[in-house]
């Protein structure tokens, strides 16, 4: 399988997009806030937008090289693109949508079966549910037997409960495809379930690239910290001591100086009604208490904690949240 290489520069409205990536036979997720340039990168790869400078190649096959004035039209690049709202052709049946890219009838049936939508072949897309549409969009993109797959927020149009099922299914499909796949998402769980590597993009810049657990372990900035589910505190650091904005002093693992952010994950915070002797302690009022997936989410002052039990705690009561110094990750 060929490797997708891209190296792009494109001045957008408010910032310059710069992306340099190599994606092998793996799934690479682009994660970042709205307007970061995620979709734009997919459009560059598909040939729907021409960057100011750059090169895109699949193995030896050069799709774009602005220096050599190479720029293949979208229909001459072997890509499958799944659009955010799916962009199914409303005037064609499901089968005709999948066949649009040139798939033979046999191949169309095979794809529909594989995605469990064989019985919908004759329906128009407007009569389908969100999950069904998503499957049609994936089948249509695969119908061209693309050498590169692009997915723009493939799950964002789905209900919370449809989403879980479709996510697992998509994970299986991506695992068997083994072609370079670029995916855009806002959701860290989607990214970590589906992708081998994640690139965090903000203002057109790739800020951090790594496996999901690497991002969680060492969030490079406040955005990554909140994306991976962390609480964010602010304060002034002097070595391993940080004076938070509310005056509390805490210990952190890595020394730093000046204004810093501190990421603390909810599952590394304990909560009690009496002050624990050791660790970093923040006192505060108890906010919402929510059962969440076998644990309980409690907010104490600025911190959300996920704990096994919350015996004796009530909304509005005073409580203490504590965490170990090594759980306090410093963000410059």
């Amino acid at each position: 399988m060929a490797t997708l290489e891209l190296d792009l520069t494109d001045p957008l409205r408010t910032f310059e997009l710069r992306a340099r990536l190599t994606v092998g036979a793996e799934t690479f997720a682009l994660v970042g806030p709205s307007g970061a340039g995620k979709s734009t990168i997919l459009r560059h790869v598909a040939g729907l937008k021409k960057p100011a400078h750059g090169r895109i190649a699949l193995g030896k096959d050069v799709w774009l090289d602005t220096e050599r004035r190479v720029n293949r039209a979208p229909d001459r690049r072997s890509v499958g693109l799944v659009f955010q709202e799916y962009a199914l052709f409303p005037h064609l049946t499901v089968a005709a949508n999948v066949a649009f890219g040139g798939a033979s009838p046999a191949r169309v049936s095979e794809l529909l079966e594989r995605l469990h939508i064989g019985h919908l072949a004759g329906e128009k897309p407007t009569r389908l549910s969100g999950g069904e549409r998503q499957r049609v969009a994936v089948a249509r993109a695969l119908g061209r037997d693309p050498q590169v797959l692009l997915l723009d927020e493939p799950l964002s149009a789905l209900d919370a409960h449809t989403r879980t099922a479709v996510r697992e299914e998509l994970a299986d499909i991506l695992a068997t495809l083994a072609i370079p796949t670029l995916m855009v998402t806002h959701d860290f769980l989607d990214a970590s379930t589906l992708a081998d590597r994640i690139g965090v993009i903000r203002d057109g810049q790739l800020h951090q690239i790594g496996r999901p657990e690497e991002l969680t372990a060492r969030p490079a900035d406040a955005f990554v910290a909140s994306l991976t589910g962390g609480n964010l505190l602010h304060g002034m650091a002097e070595g391993t001591r940080v004076t938070l904005d509310d005056g509390t002093v805490i210990e952190v693992a890595e020394p730093a100086t000046g204004r810093v952010g501190i990421a603390v994950y909810p599952w590394e915070v304990s909560v009690s009604s009496t002050s624990p002797g050791a660790g970093n302690v923040l006192a505060g009022t108890v906010g919402s208490i929510t059962p969440d997936r076998g644990r309980t989410r409690v907010r104490v002052g600025p911190l959300v904690a996920e704990v096994a039990h919350v015996d004796g705690l009530e909304r509005g009561a005073r409580a203490f949240a504590s965490f170990a110094p090594r759980s306090a990750r410093v963000i410059q």
């Binding site: 729907l48 039209a73 693109l81 962009a87 005037h91 040139g102 128009k124 993109a141």
Partner: protein, 275 residues
């Protein structure tokens, strides 16, 4: 007070309907309907009908064939001066037909801007069928173009992108995606243009004259027969009303059937007008 508001709205609607319906109803009371078929068999009317259909058929084919790609270009490409181009296209809409006729004469008439050049080629346009065709195209095409541009614009551009990434060339994308999705808007525009062409008078009389069997269209004949043979004029009038109503209604029924079978949002307010 609040029931009053709805009542006020309904009253306005009633006034509008009454005013628009009365003249049409009155038209039918004026002529002994039984005589209409006989009057329409009059050779003058027959000639006229033939001229009207022939010239309008040619004009409409040209409008659709050249106008559709032009509208697609304007709807999907962005270039400097695009707003100016669109204004130019809409200008004939707001131009009194007589002025349009003078303009056509000034351009293509004998002694006009291109008249001399054309004459050298042995082409004389005024008083010929082609003059009617040009007049109809000039006054009617903006109706089609305007609607066609907005029909193509309202096709979701991501569908266009989707077709391209699925390997369709620009031409195939146009034929397989843009055209079918814009179809109902195009037909709506064409209905208007067709109707405008059939009813065309001012530019035709000035530019093409009223030559029986050549440039004498239904509308010109109505004016001509208004004094001479009022019943013939009325019969043609009724023929045109019925024709117009049939075209409008069949278009409505068509688009209604389409939309009710594929409408994505069952509770979307049903669109009234071919907007």
């Amino acid at each position: 007070m609040r029931a009053g508001f709805t009542a006020l709205l309904a009253l306005c609607l009633g006034v509008v309907l009454a005013f628009l319906a009365i003249p049409i109803v009155a038209l039918f009371t004026e002529v002994p309907l039984g005589d209409v078929p006989g009057l329409l068999r009059d050779p003058v009317v027959q000639d006229t009908l033939k001229v009207t259909l022939r010239t309008n058929a040619i004009a409409n084919v040209l409008i659709l064939a050249v106008g559709t790609p032009a509208a697609y270009f304007l709807a999907t490409r962005h270039f400097k001066g695009r707003a100016l181009v669109i204004t130019l296209i809409e200008l004939p809409l707001v131009l009194p037909p007589a002025v349009a006729g003078i303009g056509l004469l000034a351009a293509f008439g004998a002694g006009g801007l291109f008249g001399g050049a054309l004459q050298d080629q042995g082409i004389i346009l005024p008083f010929t069928e082609w003059a009617v065709v040009l007049a109809v195209i000039f006054v009617a095409s903006p109706f089609y173009l305007r609607q066609a541009i907005s029909a193509f614009e309202s096709v979701d551009p991501t569908l266009h992108d989707a077709a391209r990434t699925l390997g369709a060339s620009p031409a195939r994308t146009f034929l397989r995606v843009a055209l079918p999705l814009a179809a109902s808007g195009l037909v709506a525009g064409w209905v208007l243009a067709f109707a405008r062409g059939i009813g065309e008078f001012g530019a035709t009389i000035v530019f093409a004259g009223n030559v029986r069997g050549e440039t004498g269209t239904l509308t010109l004949t109505i004016y001509e027969q208004l004094e001479a043979n009022f019943d013939v004029a009325l019969s043609i009038g009724i023929l045109l009303v019925v024709l117009s109503a049939v075209i409008l209604l069949s278009y409505k029924l068509l688009s209604w059937r389409r939309s009710s079978s594929t409408s994505p949002t069952p509770f979307a307010r049903s669109s009234s007008a071919p907007a």
